[in-house]
Every structure is written in C-alpha cells, then in structure tokens.
Amino acid sequence: MTHPAPADPSSPDGPLLSVRGVDVGYRTGRRTQLTAVHEATFDLYPGQSMALVGESGCGKTTLGLGLLRLLPRTGTVSAGNILFRRKSGDVVDLRGLAEQDLRRFRWNEAAMVFQGAMNAFNPVLRIEEHFLDTFRAHESRTRRRDLLERSAELLAMVRLDPARVLPSYPHELSGGMRQRALIALALALRPQLLILDEPTTALDVLTQRSVVEQLTELRERLRFAMVFITHDLGLAAELADRVGTMYAGRLIETGTTRDIFHRSRHPYTSALISSVPPVVGELAVPEPLTGGPPGIDALPPGCSFAPRCPRVIDGCTTTRPELRLLHARDEGLSHAAACLRSDDTELSTEGATRD
C-alpha cells in the first residue's frame, strides 16, 4: 500500500492515535464471520478533528466503535493495530489491552458520545448521578461536593444551567440539552480523544447549530482530538479539519476538508457531495446517486463502487484499487484516494478554481 510511511507514535510530536490495517468483523453464526471494516489505516494527531462520512451501512459506526473496542458482543477487531499515546507518553495497542485496563482507558484517555443521547443515559438516574458515577469509577476518594462542583463546571462549559440540569432526569431535558450534557459528561475526565457517532442527527437545525458551536469552542479550549461519524456532509465541512470517506467497509478517500470538498478524487465522494446542494443561492440540481451500497456479505469483485460509478472503466470490475497518495502532507493530512482514475483531471473541475 502506497500509504505515507507510518509515523512513530512514541515520539512526542507523533500521532495520538495510529490505526494500522484494522479489520472489524461480526460473528454471524457458529463458525461464520462477516468483515464489516477492511484494512482501515490512518494517523490522528493531537487536536485534529476528523470526520468519517459515507452512506449508512458503509462501516463508519463499526469503525468508530472498533477504535475503542465498544463493539456489540458479536463484533471483534480481527486484524491490525490501534496504537494510542497515553497522557503519560507511553504507547499502547488497544487491541491487546485487557478488558479491565480498557475500562480505565475509556473516559480517561478517550471517550465516546453515542448516537441517540436518550439511550446513552440511564432513564432512572438523575444527571448528577451519571456524573458522579463517571468520576467515582476513576477516582474514588474525592468528596461528593467537589465532584458536583466539577460537574457543574462541565455543564456550564456547554452552556447548560447546572442548577436546573444536575437534579433532572434525562427525559426532563430536551434532545439538544441531553446531547450537550452527554458531551460534557464525555469530557469529564479530560480525555485526549472524543469519538462522536452522529452527534447532531436527531437534532433540529438551531439546536444542531449550538452543539456545533460548542464543540468548536470546547476544542479550542481543551485541545482534544475528535473523530466524528456522520452522514451529514454539512457537519463534516463545518467541524472537521480532515475527512475520511468510507464505502463498503473501506476508507476510499482521505484528505483535508478542502481536499475532499473542493478537489475530491474519488467519484463516490464527489457524488456524495453533489447530492447535497447548499441552502443559500440559486437552485443547484444535484446529481442523484443511483442504487445503494452493496451488502458487506456480497461485495462485487474489483472496486466495490464500480456498479454505481458513472466513470467506471474495464479495470474497475477486476482490480480493487488501493488508497494511493495524491498529495503528501505532514500530520496525516495527505490526500489519498482509492480509485484507478484518481489522476484524471475531469473529476472535480468546479472545486479546483476555488482554492
């Protein structure tokens, strides 16, 4: 694979998270297994924000859950390494971490904000209980009053009124408030990495806007790195420094946000982007993408996107293209695409002039 040479995660200016050739599979029967994510490889540097985009069923959430090994019982990370540089400076492979160490690792080093804030909270516990539980699981000695004070600070950070929110039950809060409370909770132990699964999907436009603004603000203040999974390309354009497009379980294009939105080199990425027209301006007629992604149990030979691709050539149905480096940059910001025709110029003409 002509990927940039793996950076050394143990050096202090190396990546925070280095994902190397990770496969994630689900057990489907006694002896059968489906691989939902194939050979995911990327480096995430401290403070970066990366969006994983794609249609549903393309493996985004599976990869996100796999990174923290939060997969459902039938799922496993079946190959590769997930190297993470702890706050202490030593590097661990999350794949080899014992369940007990893993629990300590989550929240402290990396936290996850799940899709659907309602289900992430226990409905019979007040919000303060959730905060206290999280703190207590990791530092048992601190007094309740101090912990509540810290919880209040966290909630204030996401512009929630602690006096109103802390004693409330989850169902007494609106969707937006729950989502913000969940983000505050995830940040309770100052993790270096936050993984968010569809953080704004169920929210209204105005609520989504306030969550986006708060995430941007928090990131500037606390300098955590972020991986977020979304099918909303607008959110990716707004919140991410870099984007990875996934299709049929593979990363098929990675690059900076500008690379992806203005100079995309994979026909799937461009099709995805052109299917959401901007709200402002005259009517743009989007190109519809026909059909749907293939099932992960029935991938076509060659490039998985070939059956839907408007630019398919003979080779596409036989050779599976590897991620190919197009424009090398430091800190994992290189532009790479997995398309046999990624060198053709005609793909994204309108974007090239804008930069």
Binding site: Y26, T28, L34, T62
Partner: protein
C-alpha cells in the same frame, strides 16, 4: 451501522421452519413429535388390530409374542399402545384449535374495535376464567355418559381461551398503533380486512406457539379426565390405559409395569418434543431472544 446477524426468512412458515431447525434442541423436539405422530397415526396400519381378551395370559411378561406384555384382560399392551395414541392427540389438537380460534377472533375484535365491545368481551373472559374446569367436566360427564372425543375437545376449548385472548388483545392494541395499520386505513380497506389480513398475520408466529402450548395443555386435560374416570371410552386410549392400570392396582405388580409405564412414556415424549420445539421457536420469533 449495526449488522443484522440473521436475515429473516421469507414468510411466517419460513421463519417457523428456520426457528425449529436452527438449534439442536429444536430439531430433537421436532423429531420426537414426528416420531410419536408416526407411531400413533401410521402405526395402526402395520399391526393387527385384533386384540382379543385372553384369560390365560393376564399380566403376561414381555416376550417375543407380546413385546410389552399383556394387561389385566390378557390383551397385548403394545397393540393397545399403538392404537391408543390417536384419540388423545386428536382431542388435544381439536381443543387447541377451538381455543386459539376463539381467542384470536375475540381478542382481535376487542383490541381493534375497543369501546363497548371490548368491555363486554373482557367481562366474558372474567366469567369464563372463574368457571371451575373439573366441576364443569363432572357435570357434563354426568349428563352425557357417551361423551364423544369431539365433545371433550369442545368443552376444553370453551373454557381455556380467556388467557390467550387477553394477550392477543394486548398485542393487537400495540400493533394497531403501528403506521402500516394507519396506511391501510388511508386506503379505506375496511375494518375486517385490516384486522384479519393486515394485523393478525403479524402475530402468526406468536399464535402458532400458543397453539402448540394449547395442545400440550389440552392433552394433559384429557388424560387427567380419563384418569379421574370422567370419560368412559370403549376405544383404546393412552389415558384410559393409565386409568385401567390404576384401577387394577398395576403399580403393585412388577409384571404390570409396562402397561402402566408405556402410555406415560409416550405422552411424556410427545410433550417434551412439543415443549423443546416451542422453546426454540420462541427464540426465533422474538428478535430480543434471537441473538442470544
């Protein structure tokens, strides 16, 4: 994106078949049920049904001539066993059919129509549930000394439907709120059609499971009634065999053991088969249990 681990099979019967065969215990259950059915329904064609009384061979031992010995009248136990399965199984199935039919129709109507109808039907279940079954059977048996098997299943069916009716009503109440039912109303399809064609087929698996459970219950009820001597019968019958064994103190005679034990074993095998089959069916039809 969560991956569905088992693709649902096409149609209800497909799901039922898959549910029974996907686990070893389900398969064993199915085999047990089929063998008992074959024994009781195909068996009579392979033996000589002529089974004369023979006073010279009362409580005869197991021999090559009498595979399971003979009974208190010198009749061959094995022949009786082969001939005696049809009636209790028939009665059980017929009673279960009646129970399920009443429960599904009344439960469906009560849940879908609501209002006064629902109220009246619920009162009816309350009344039926308080009727003491055994007493009713005693009364019926004393009036009709020649109770036919069909009559028996009818009575069992008439008193056992309320429990199933209530759970079907509850399920219809939730199904009714589903959007596809509203979509059917938007098509102006009519109440009867929506209830019986759109709503109830969604519960087919559940109804089928309850049908099997109803069979097991009805068979125990029938055997119990024979045992209590409530039902005089001339035909060979597993329940009657146990009752005769009881009446003739067979449990005191070691040589009479086969006559007592054989029908009990047959009934137990059939019931175990049905229960294990149902267990794996439940797992297949309930998505919450499916992935365990």
């Amino acid at each position: 994106m969560a991956v569905t681990t088992t693709a649902p099979a096409a149609g209800v019967w497909g799901t039922i078949w898959q549910g029974v065969t996907r686990s070893t215990s389900g398969l064993i259950g199915l085999c047990l049920v089929l063998s008992v059915l074959a024994f009781a329904f195909a068996g009579p064609y392979f033996i000589d049904p002529h089974n004369p009384t023979d006073t010279t061979a009362i409580w005869g031992p197991i021999s090559s001539e009498h595979w399971l010995g003979t009974n208190h009248e010198g009749k061959d136990t094995f022949v009786q066993l082969v001939l005696g399965g049809r009636e209790p199984i028939w009665v059980g199935v017929a009673a279960a059919l009646i129970t399920v039919a009443i429960a599904v129709v009344l439960g469906g109507i009560a849940g879908y129509v609501r209002g006064r109808v629902d109220h009246v039907l619920l009162q009816l279940t309350d009344i039926t549930m308080t009727v003491p079954f055994i007493v009713l059977m005693l009364v019926v048996a004393s009036f009709y000394r020649t109770s036919s098997p069909l009559m028996v299943s009818f009575i069992i069916g008439l008193v056992t439907w309320p429990f199933l009716m209530r759970s079907i009503r509850a399920q219809v109440l939730t199904l009714k709120e589903r959007e596809f039912v509203e979509a059917a109303r938007l098509q102006d399809l009519g109440t009867a059609r929506i209830l019986f064609v759109e709503v109830l087929p969604n519960m087919a698996g559940y109804i089928f499971i309850n049908f099997i459970i109803a069979i097991t219950n009805a068979i125990y009820a029938v055997v119990g009634m024979y045992l209590l001597g409530l039902l005089p019968s001339t035909a060979d019958n597993w329940g009657l065999m146990i009752q005769q064994a009881w009446d003739n103190n067979a449990f005191l005679l070691p040589s009479a053991a086969p006559f007592l034990v054989a029908p009990m074993v047959m009934i137990m095998l059939f019931q175990i088969g049905l229960v294990t089959m149902t267990r794996s069916l439940e797992q297949a039809l309930d998505p919450r249990l499916r992935d365990r």
